[in-house]
Symmetry: C2
Subunit: 706 residues, 2 copies
């Protein structure tokens, strides 16, 4: 058990601000605890001697030992209460009181104080602005919500208290149980990462689910979740996915939204299964909490109804699963036992007059097939089929074969009793075939997550000092936008660039051109001129003899275009053959929650018009870099489609990793674009570069590393 | 009322094959009719005098007048029964009996006979292999299913009887009512198109829904559905969407699947709202059957809970709807009436202590805003909020403003009573915010469908006779694959092609080249050589002086490559400038259900690797052709992105229409590809052509038109 175990399993809980005033939150919490909690309940209120018949104390210090204090005092008394608890040796506090950072101004100041006190006394603080917490094994309902949770193996955190209230009311009706429930509130101290870690260590939690509007520290969350999802699935609704939603979330919690693209990549890298709605959240959770892992993706469908069977097959086609191909033995066995009109291929249609026995035989045979990793039982109500008996048979066959089975016993009231029996044995029943398959799909997704290997970022041997100098030079120059004049930065990190040099007189330009084989490319170098081509600032294929004049012309054009532009010189560069090569782009920008975000795509229209890009949170290793290349739709172009010679994809993969290392080493790099990174059959070359550096961060960074 | 009205509203129904044997289908149907039907019920069975206490007749002819005969006799007695009914003047027959085309062989023959008898007597036949039909206003349950439907305004057809049984059991629990229900069975006579027409004319049907595994005549269905959806929404689950599903559907109904791409295009063109699951089908139907049309896409969200409000906003972001921007007046009014902590921007968060009155005020204000076209009321259960009272308030405000409102009163049992009240007034309640928004989205989609104008296909003045000759020539040649030698076909239909000619001697080649300005392109013309470039059979940019030698070389290469290839000559063609132009592709193939399917995309990687194409069922008019161009992802390239000169998009649009006319005029054209159709700033040109002709169809076609 982690360090938070006492939060969920205290021997005694104090309610600071307990009262017997009707309708008061301090009363609701005390009542909830008094009614069900297995341990000691201690009201704290300096103005009362007893509350609801329980002896009341002035403060935590004067009360008997308190493992958890639930605080419902007015906002300006919270800090003092925390000190009191800290002094008394109480380690766990839930702050229900609102009026902190969510109100801005004074509230935000108060929340900083709260964090300081928590630090000082090493307190585990949930909230402030929390509905409270629950843990079902000891009957602890330390919330002011109207509903207690049923016991189960799902642990549930939510950044919205109302979401918990709404879900519990519904879950109780559906008999879905929980282990621990936490209303995260403002997350001043404990946040999603802490609970992911805690529940990952909790043997009684089979699935972690959550509703989040933001993740505080993306990097830390990815690390924690990756570890936890080796054993325990995490399913999250992260709202604010759309622009409108992000705006609504930001006005709800006051959090900086961060980009959806970063969340998408970060949660995927973390191994989180993402749900887009409340329904999906529980459809997935129900399957993940009660069923074993499927051994592979083959699904058998057993039904008494053709139409629903086809619908289920469509749903399998939409998912990551596939319809199992039965072995000859299975076909033979089914042919023998099923009536002539039945379909013995997958989906098995045991036809309309199938009774429980025939259903059971078909399921038994299907589950015995080595190509079947999971099964869906789909039925329409008929006169000869008793749903409750069918449920028992499904449970029996599922356990015999230790294979995940979900059901879709279609119908209304007559399905309810069967549903209840199935639920007890961990088998979720869904009304809709598509939802039943989505439950199995979540199991398959979790198997993928468990089986994937995420290699650690490789540490390339680079010249970090030289890179730092180049960045520092830019910082000193009071110019945070760097361009092609900083190509050395890439060289320092081992990324191939074309031969060439930036020169500041025409004679030197000719010398450099002569040292390069073939014609050259010449570009004006000026941080003030961003669209060089537009002013004729780029000359492609210049012969050595023409280099002198070309130099003069380029400089003249720049002066003419913008007399006050700082001209750093002219770049004379090897001409890269683009006929057999493909232009790609590797970009980086920084997300407030997840840090550096790598982006890959093919150049030109592919990124700008088709928006065909892939994204990862840095740092990444070779596997993830390779995924970035392969998941763009145009990837076949790099891999050698349509008779082209394949490009050096491994060169691209290594460049992405080296850039990942660069931006991880230097948080001062706010944005960076290598555009194009040309990938030919024999290697890659970074042709142009733009980046933005934050001078201040660079200094801090320098200090830190020194 | 259409010609099928008597099917659903008969005065008397005979059950042919009625019996009192327990468990027999002939008893189940009779019982269902006897229990609820308002009219006369007549058992027919030559071996009994009475069945279930009702007087029994030998055959339909000897019984009193029968408006509808439900037939459950053995398969080999069905034809005779139909004759009997026909002779007796009965116009409507439902054949429950199975053992027809679904069993193949003898059954298929029997179904052809059935169709012939139906033709002879002009019978409306449902089935065979049908569960039966229902109509709630007169209490007619002429099915052998265990459940009767509740009365409502949804009419429902299904190609799967089990699907009906499953849905009714559930719908009764949910109190969802129906007008008519039809189990289509094998659709030997009446099919989906007939019922769409019938219900389109039925003032009591507000929504038509269906489960289909195939559509028999796509063209006819599109015509009927387009007309009906001017007033009545159609929502369909068409299963067999995926490859696996299509295979399952084909083994279930024995129907040829047709391509999903054709269904997707055809149903869209028909104005059908497509649901991908049972849940979606009813989520959409519930909204469409009870609510008025929204005037525009602005949605207001009113909630007492931040988190669920954000989730709802995300769902709006995912849909075709948008969050309404409130007017200053609305903001001012809300600011005045809501507490300080409330959010008065959209989503309106009336916060956790909102009672029904505050909710009502917020909703009233929102619905009064001219930017609000519809609203979602989202709530979490709280101590101060009574859901049943909230329901009443929502009903009242909705009616006051005549604006569609859906609700998402989250929770379990406490939401049920409210749900019931809401349902009575046509307001669907959904547990999940995403589903609530999908209901409104269906309303918005239907508005789009009603508002769209689909222009009739233009009839271009073409040389149809010349086209017929070219095709006939190919047919005579015993070679159904045509290539560039048939470019005249395009010319006959007014599609621009480059200047040029197919010649069969080098001297003539030079003459043609000299008559063309600039260099020329030369290609070997042979139906036996499909990849001309691979054997060096194409020469681009040949100067006039080199044409003679080029001719000799091309022919030599062809002979060398394939000595027995038929060489029709060499094409000498104007060189089209590709620098400022974009290569596009227009293709046609024939779908068994929908007929000619037009495909559009950009050439090369765009079609082959990115699969960026659009599809329509021909014939189409200018609007739909323009949609085809604009809906591909790469459309901006044609429209002039990234500083390119825009291509002649209207030229492309016209070419698509002319090809639509060509393939509609000649069903004998099985496949056709214009690749590339080059689109430049000043016009389009078809550079190359391949097509496949079915000689047999051409003859039939010729005969027909003659």
């Amino acid at each position: 058990m982690g360090r938070l175990s006492a939060l969920f399993d205290p021997q005694s809980v104090a309610v600071v601000g307990a009262t017997d005033r009707e309708g008061a939150v301090g009363r609701a919490i005390l009542e909830n605890l008094r009614d069900e909690f297995d341990g000691e309940v201690v009201p704290i209120n300096p103005t009362r001697e007893a509350v609801l018949g329980l002896e009341c104390y002035t403060d935590v210090s004067s009360a008997p030992a308190v493992d958890l204090a639930v605080v419902v005092v007015p906002p300006d008394a919270v800090i003092e209460t925390l000190r009191d608890a800290g002094e008394a040796g109480t380690e766990n506090v839930v702050v229900i009181t609102a009026g902190f950072s969510e109100t801005g101004g004074e509230g935000a100041t108060r929340e900083r104080e709260l964090r300081a006190v928590a630090d000082e006394y090493d307190l585990n603080v949930v909230g402030p602005n929390s509905l409270g917490i629950m843990s079902t094994p000891n009957g602890m309902n330390a919330t002011f919500g109207p509903e207690n949770a049923l016991e189960g193996s799902i642990s549930f955190m939510s950044q919205s208290g109302a979401f918990i209230t709404a879900v519990l009311d519904w879950a109780n009706e559906q008999e879905i149980g929980f282990q621990d429930v936490v209303s995260l509130g403002n997350k001043a101290v404990l946040d999603e990462t802490d609970f992911v870690r805690e529940w990952g260590d909790d043997p009684d939690t089979d699935v972690i689910i959550g509703y989040l509007e933001g993740i505080d520290d993306g990097d830390e969350f990815i690390d924690a979740a990756r570890e936890v999802t080796d054993d325990t699935p995490i399913v999250l609704v992260k709202s604010g996915r759309t622009d409108a939603g992000a705006q609504a979330a930001s006005s709800h919690t006051g959090a900086i939204a961060g980009s959806e693209r970063a969340y998408e990549a970060g949660l995927e890298q973390a191994g989180v299964i993402r749900a887009n709605s409340v329904q999906e959240l529980f459809d997935y959770a129900r399957a993940l909490s009660g069923l074993p892992e499927p051994e592979h993706d083959g699904v058998a469908v057993v039904t008494n109804a053709g139409g629903p069977g086809v619908l289920t097959t469509d749903a399998v086609g939409d998912s990551r699963l596939e319809m199992a191909t039965f072995t000859d033995e299975t076909i033979a066995a089914l042919t023998e036992t099923m009536p002539e009109e039945a379909n013995v291929y997958n989906p098995i249609d045991a036809i309309g007059d199938a009774d429980v026995e025939r259903f059971g035989e078909a399921l038994d045979t299907a589950l015995g097939d080595p190509n079947v990793g999971s099964a869906v039982v789909v039925s329409a109500p008929t006169a000869v089929l008793k749903y409750d008996k069918l449920a028992e048979t499904v449970i029996e066959k599922r356990e015999d074969h230790d294979t995940p089975v979900v059901t879709c016993l279609m119908g209304g009231e007559r399905a309810r009793a069967a549903e209840e029996v199935l639920r007890e044995f961990g088998i979720p029943n869904y009304f809709d075939p598509a939802r039943a398959v989505s439950g199995l799909d979540a199991l398959a997704r979790f198997r993928e997550i468990r089986e994937r290997t995420v290699d650690d970022p490789e540490h390339f041997d680079v010249d970090r000092e030289r890179a730092r100098e180049i960045l520092a030079r830019a910082a000193r120059r009071d110019d945070n936008r760097l361009g092609v004049e900083s190509m050395e930065l890439l060289e320092a990190y081992g990324i191939p660039t074309p031969d060439g040099e930036i020169v500041d007189d025409p004679e030197r330009a000719r010398e450099v051109a002569e040292s390069i084989e073939g014609d050259v490319v010449m570009k004006i170098v000026s941080p003030d001129i961003s669209h060089k081509s537009d002013i004729g600032g780029v000359k492609v294929g210049v012969a050595d003899d023409d280099v002198y004049d070309a130099y003069e012309d380029l400089v003249a054009r720049a002066r003419n275009y913008q007399p006050d532009a700082a001209v750093l010189g002219v770049q004379v560069q090897e001409l890269v053959d683009l006929d057999t090569a493909t232009e790609t782009i590797v970009g980086v920008n920084r997300d407030p929650q997840f840090g550096p975000l790598l982006l890959f795509g093919l150049g030109g229209i592919f990124v700008e018009i088709l928006e065909d890009t892939s994204v990862r949170v840095a740092p990444i290793g070779a596997d993830e870099a390779r995924e970035m290349v392969d998941e763009i739709r145009a990837a076949p172009l790099l891999r050698g489609a349509r008779g082209r010679e394949p490009a050096d994809v491994e060169g691209v993969v290594e460049t992405i990793q080296r850039l990942s290392q660069l931006v991880t080493d230097f948080p001062a790099i706010l944005e960076l674009d290598v555009n194009p990174l040309v990938a030919g059959p024999d290697g890659v070359q970074a042709i142009d570069l733009r980046l933005t550096v934050d001078a201040e961060t660079l200094e801090t960074d320098d200090t830190e590393k020194a």
